[in-house]
């Protein structure tokens, strides 16, 4: 079963829900998508290097097998979750402190 594919998609959906639940609305800002494009540009270098070397090898049983250069497409969905979750929590925790709610 394509467990990595499923996990990556589920994680991305959960992060979208998190943004709505916390009311941070990060994903609705055009700035976020510009920021994500910048992160992906660096990601191509880093993730590309890690998978080309390879420092990390993926099990073909668990992902679709589609790659951009040497990078499994799932990594871009995974990367979205990691990147978006970081800034959603940051925005939430920063705002919570400023408005004095605990």
């Amino acid at each position: 079963m394509k467990e990595y594919t499923i996990a990556a998609v589920v994680a991305a959906l959960l992060v979208v829900l998190l943004d709505g639940k916390l009311g941070t609305r990060v994903l609705r800002q055009s700035a976020f998508w510009i920021f994500l494009a910048v992160m992906y540009a660096f990601k191509l270098l880093v993730n590309g290097y890690l998978t080309w070397r390879p420092i990390v090898t993926y099990n073909s049983e668990f992902f679709l097998g589609l790659r951009l250069f040497t990078i499994p497409v799932e990594d871009f969905v995974y990367g979205f979750s990691l990147i978006a979750m970081s800034v959603i929590l940051w925005e939430y925790l920063k705002a919570r402190k400023q408005t004095g709610r605990t």
Partner: protein
């Protein structure tokens, strides 16, 4: 070279780390929020990674990691999430700063 993965992490974080002290970004004015965000992201992705590594979704090449492992993952892989969540927040604040300045 066994330091290779560690070097990759160093290359990712060194720029943001040096520039992060810039007052205009005010990252450390919210150091508790910064630490908490990084902490929550790390724990979440560590759990995923430990399970995925145990199930052999992926594996790490001994030739490029320093050696110490915890729950099957090289020390570099644990640090990866600290580095990436920090760099994400730094780049996010930088992006917002440059977009605001342009207007």
């Amino acid at each position: 070279m066994t330091v290779e993965y560690a070097l990759v992490l160093f290359c990712i974080i060194i720029g943001p780390l040096l520039l992060s002290r810039d007052k205009k970004l005010n990252l450390y004015g919210h150091s508790a929020a910064l630490a908490k965000s990084i902490g929550i992201v790390c724990v979440t992705f560590w759990v995923w990674d430990v399970v995925a590594t145990a199930r052999q979704h992926w594996w790490f090449n001994d030739a490029y990691v320093l050696g110490p492992r915890l729950l099957g993952m090289p020390i570099e892989e644990w640090l990866f999430f600290v580095v990436l969540s920090f760099v994400s927040i730094f780049t996010w604040e930088s992006t917002k700063y440059f977009l605001k300045r342009r207007r």
